[in-house]
Each structure stands twice: as C-alpha cells, then as structure tokens.
Amino acid sequence: MIWVDTLVQGILLGGLYALFAAGLSLVFGIMRLVNLAHGDLIVLGAYLILVVVSATGMNPIFAAAVAAPVMFAIGWTLQKVVLNRTLGEDILPPLLVTFGLSIVLQNALLEGFSADSQRIGFGALETASVPLGPVTVGVLPLMTFGTAVLTILVLNQIFYRTAIGRAFRATSDDATTASLMGIRPARVFATATGLAMVVVTIAALYLGTRANFDPSIGPARLIYAFEAVIIGGLGSLWGTLAGGIIIGVAQTLGAAINPEWQILAGHLAFLIVLLVRPRGLFPRGKD
C-alpha cells in the first residue's frame, strides 16, 4: 500500500516538475535556447505574485492572473532586446548571457526581498486532502497536476491549431524559409518567450504556495526542469510531462528507501534514460 502511495505522490510531484519544465520546453523546442535563468524567472514570478497578494489581499490565483501579463511583457522584451542577439549555431552565447541574467536576477531579488524564505498563503487549501481510491492525496498537489495537464493541453492546441502556433513550428524547422513566407522570426521568438513566461507564472503560483522559497532556489528547480525536457525529447510537450513524472516518481521512490537519496535517484533516472535514448523518449524532429 505504501508503494502505491509513493507512486501516486511521485506522479503528482512530476506534475509540478512538468509545470517548471513546460515553459523551458517551449523555448528550447522553438529556438534551441538553453535558458539558464529559467529557474530564477520562476522565482521572480513567485515574488511578483507575493507582492500582489500582500498589496491587495486577493486570492493567489487572481494575483497570478495579474502577474501573468507583466511576465509576458518581461519575457517578450527580454527575448527581443537581449536573447535574440545570442541565437545561432554556437550554444555558448545564450548559455553565458542567461547565466549572467540568472546571477543578476538572484542578487536583485536578494537586494529587494532579503534572503528570508517566503510563502504565498493559500488558506485552508494548503492542508486539504481528498481520498483517491486506496490513498489520500493533497488537494494542492492534485491541482498542480491537473494544471500541468491543462497547461500542456492548451499549449498543444496553440501549437497545432492557431496561426501563431504554425509560425512557431515553421520558424523552429527553418527560420530562413519561414521568413521568406512573411514570418518575422525575431517577433515569433519574442512571442514564444512571452508565452513561456505566462507558463512560468503558473509554475510560480504552485512553487510559492506549495513550499517556502527564497531568491537562491532557482538553479535547483532549473536542473529538474531541464531533466524533464530532455527525457521527454526536444519539442514534445507531452514528453515533458512524461519526463516530469519520471523524475518525480524516481525522487519519491528514492526518498522512500532513504531520505538522502531523493535528489540522487532523480538524477540517476535521468542518466539512465539518456543512456538508452540519447535524444529523449519522444523526440519530435531532428535536433
């Protein structure tokens, strides 16, 4: 029974990691951009929601809705002004620029909000639980997982059913040919990063309500997110969800055996998958 419980908790945790990873997967899939500041951007989103909540006292979900357009604007501008200049064959420029950004963000948040850990209050929801077959699960983890599935569903609809989604796919496949067809890659990329930042805001909501956070926790979240994206395969959002679940289940199983093995087990699962499938489980196209 305890194993079923562990498995269910692992899958739900995987939902959180998939949320962390969905924005990254979008950006990585469309422009091959390795954004090392992604984790810190999630933390930035969490602080933004916290500020809105403490200023107006509104429900965190509505606060996230307020924060989302702001994050979209930040992402759009960041891509248009800075990151577009780094794209190309060489992976070093985006790596270094986003790493610099990560340091700037961490220390700016440290300067603005101090190193004290914070939490976005969610009232009774924080501890509520429901019976689910033989096990009992928290409402918040269940919501997290549901949101992750819904987010990926919506992103996939945007990707395959809308004009902007077609533009995303076209630029991802061949930016030069796409620009011959009247698409402006620089704008498409900016919109993609803006959209990714909306997803980041959703991830930030759950990061901030589920546990304490402080300005320094971004990079650890980043590494789980990357693992989920790579396990899933480039450009496959459902793959990212599967990747998140694999990391989540491996971590809870590891922790059930020995609490010190939680993180290690997640990393080992990642290495094993890559050893068998170097391009991930469901790679969409050629890298």
Binding site: I91, L92, V97, V104, I223, I230, L264, P278
Partner: protein
C-alpha cells in the same frame, strides 16, 4: 634563394617568451619579498588561471561546452583528502591521486556525455557533477554532507614545510601557504606550456580544424572523436590536480563547496569569456580582470555579483571575442602564436 620555411614565431612572441620567463622567475622567488596576503591572492589567481585554461581547451578548442567541470575539482579534492585521511599519504604526494581520480571519473563521463550534443552535453555534464556531489556526500568516512578537515599531524609533517619555514623564517601556516603557492605556480606554468605545446603539434592543428569545421576536418582524415577524448581527458586530469592543490591550501572540505557550480565552473566560464575564448592569452587577461573586479567590488556583496553578471552579458553581446579579441583585432598582436606561416622563398622570373 632562401629556402622555404614554416614558422609560428613572431617578433612579439619572442619578446613575450623572454618576458614570460622573467615573470615566472620573479614569481618563484616572490615569497622572499611578498606579504602572506599577496601570496594568497597570487595563489587564487594561479589556480583560477589553471582551471580557466583547461575549460578554454575544452570549450574554446574542443568545442565541448561543459558545465560540469566542478565534478573534477571536487573529485580531485576528495581524492586528496581520502589519500591523506584514509591512506596516511603525504598531502603533496596525494595530489597525484587527485589527477588519477579525475581521470577515472572522466572516462565513464565521456562515454556517456559524448553521446549528447550541444546543449544536451552541457546539461548532461552538470547532472553528472551533481550525482558526484550527492554520492560523495554519502561517504561518511570523509565527513558526509558536512565535510571534514585535513588532520593536523599530516599538515605539520607535510614535505618541504619545515625547510620552507627555516629558509624563509616563517611560521608553519605561512610555510604551507608558500608551498601551496609554488605548487599552484608550477601547475599554471606547466598548464600553459603544455597547452601551447599541444596546440603547436599536429594534434593541435587537427583540433583547430575540428573546431572550425568538423565535417571538413573529418573529410581530410582527422579523427574528430579521438581529439574530443584527448581534450576531455587532459582537461579532467588538469582540473582534478588543480582541485587537489586548491583544497590542500584550504585544508577543509565539504561537498557543497568542492562541487560548487558557481565557484569552479561559472566563474571560470566568466574568466574565459571576458578574456577571450579560444586563445591562450584570453584566460590570463580574464583572470586578472576577474581578480581586479573582485578586489574592487567584493565589499558590495550582491551588487558585486549583479555587476559581474551584467559585464558577462555585455561582453558576450558586444565583444564576443573578449578583451584579448579587442586587443589583437586592433594591433594584430599574438603572444602565443599557433598559426603556421610560410616564410622565405621568392618567385623567380
């Protein structure tokens, strides 16, 4: 008619060589006149320079952008501590163990990481370093997650410290700093000389060819995957030895510090990029710029790091070839020339 000759030497490089040798001699005798603080600063500069040269060899010449070099610093440092604490070795002799341990870790790492390309390679190496950190934290004999110190007796009886203490008339702790400084200096000089030598050999030519265009290099018979192995293992060995020397001086270790991605990879990447990637001069200039920034701004705490991050972004966007790139573009100066030039000979009518 003068015969044709292929040479790499330029007048500037001859001057640089002479000045370089003089500088190294001065640095070796520096403990005679330098304060202990200065020796410690120089130690920091020299060890960071070594790490930067090896990362530059990996990324700048080998095209292998690793974010996991802290794995080799950490495993090297822990091998040294293991040799001293569990094997009762002399700390200086145990440095060799650092290099060997890094090499042993590098072989499976390479088998795994070479299956990955570009960004996947970068993330893969980072995860491997995390696995190494978390695994070492399970090793209770070496302090587990909280870490441990080098035993006092081992530090007291370390080779050469008595001799240094008598010759320079300093206390044991200062003598250990001088010893560590000499080791770091020797390592840095050997690293630069070794990499320069490697780049001027046929292998170096192959390496530059692979860096510039892998397909073209393969088509003229260069074994690109073998070059990757050579570069990766060399860098791992050197980085491991540097890790051993760094923690010999610190004498206190913990997994979080020894496997720190910020200290041993991020700062190192910063140094290489600021100075100029793909050149030997770049990391030298970069480490000096980094040290200068640190001494000027470190009192400002988080502002210092913000400025460091911004400088990294600005340099990458507007001067991607770094400080040395700016200098050599304007002056054509090359202190460590590797380009082969044809001299002599004349077209007869």
């Amino acid at each position: 008619m003068t015969p044709y000759a292929v040479s790499t030497r330029t007048p500037a490089s001859s001057v640089a060589l002479t000045l370089g040798i003089a500088l190294v001699v001065v640095l070796y005798v520096a403990p005679l006149f330098a304060s202990r603080g200065l020796i410690q600063d120089l130690f920091f500069i020299l060890t960071m320079l070594t790490l930067a040269q090896f990362w530059n060899l990996l990324a700048g010449y080998g095209g292998l952008v690793s974010v996991g070099q802290q794995a080799f610093v950490g495993i090297g440092a822990y091998a040294l501590f293991g040799g001293v604490i569990l094997g009762a070795m002399d700390p200086v002799a145990a440095i060799l163990l650092s290099g060997v341990a890094a090499l042993v870790l590098a072989i499976p790492t390479a088998f795994f990481a070479f299956r990955l390309q570009g960004a996947y390679f970068a993330i893969g190496t980072w995860v491997i370093a995390e696995v190494a950190r978390l695994s070492i934290a399970q090793w209770k004999a070496l302090g587990g997650g909280t870490g441990t110190s080098l035993p006092r007796e081992a530090m007291r009886e370390m080779m050469l410290t008595d001799w240094i203490g008598t010759v320079f008339d300093v206390r044991a702790s200062a003598a250990r700093d001088i010893l560590a400084y000499w080791l770091a200096l020797t390592l840095a000089v050997a690293t630069i000389a070794g990499i320069y030598w490697l780049l001027r050999t046929k292998r170096g030519l192959a390496l530059a060819a692979v860096r510039d265009n892998m397909e073209a290099a393969k088509s003229v018979g260069v074994d690109a995957s073998r070059m990757k192995w050579v570069v990766f293992l060399t860098s791992a060995f050197g980085t491991g030895v540097a890790g051993g020397v760094i923690y010999l001086q610190k004498a206190r270790i913990s997994p979080d510090a020894a496997f720190s991605v910020t200290d041993w990879t991020a700062y190192v990447i910063f140094i290489v990029v600021i100075g100029g990637i793909g050149t030997i001069e770049g990391p030298i200039l970069g480490v000096l710029a980094f040290f200068l920034l640190q001494s000027l701004l470190s009192d400002y705490g988080s502002w210092y790091l913000m400025i460091l991050g911004l400088i990294g972004i600005v340099v990458m966007l507007f001067a991607p070839r770094g400080l040395w790139g700016l200098i050599s573009d304007r002056t054509g100066l090359q202190l460590f020339p590797i380009r082969r030039r044809l001299t002599g000979g004349k077209i007869e009518d």
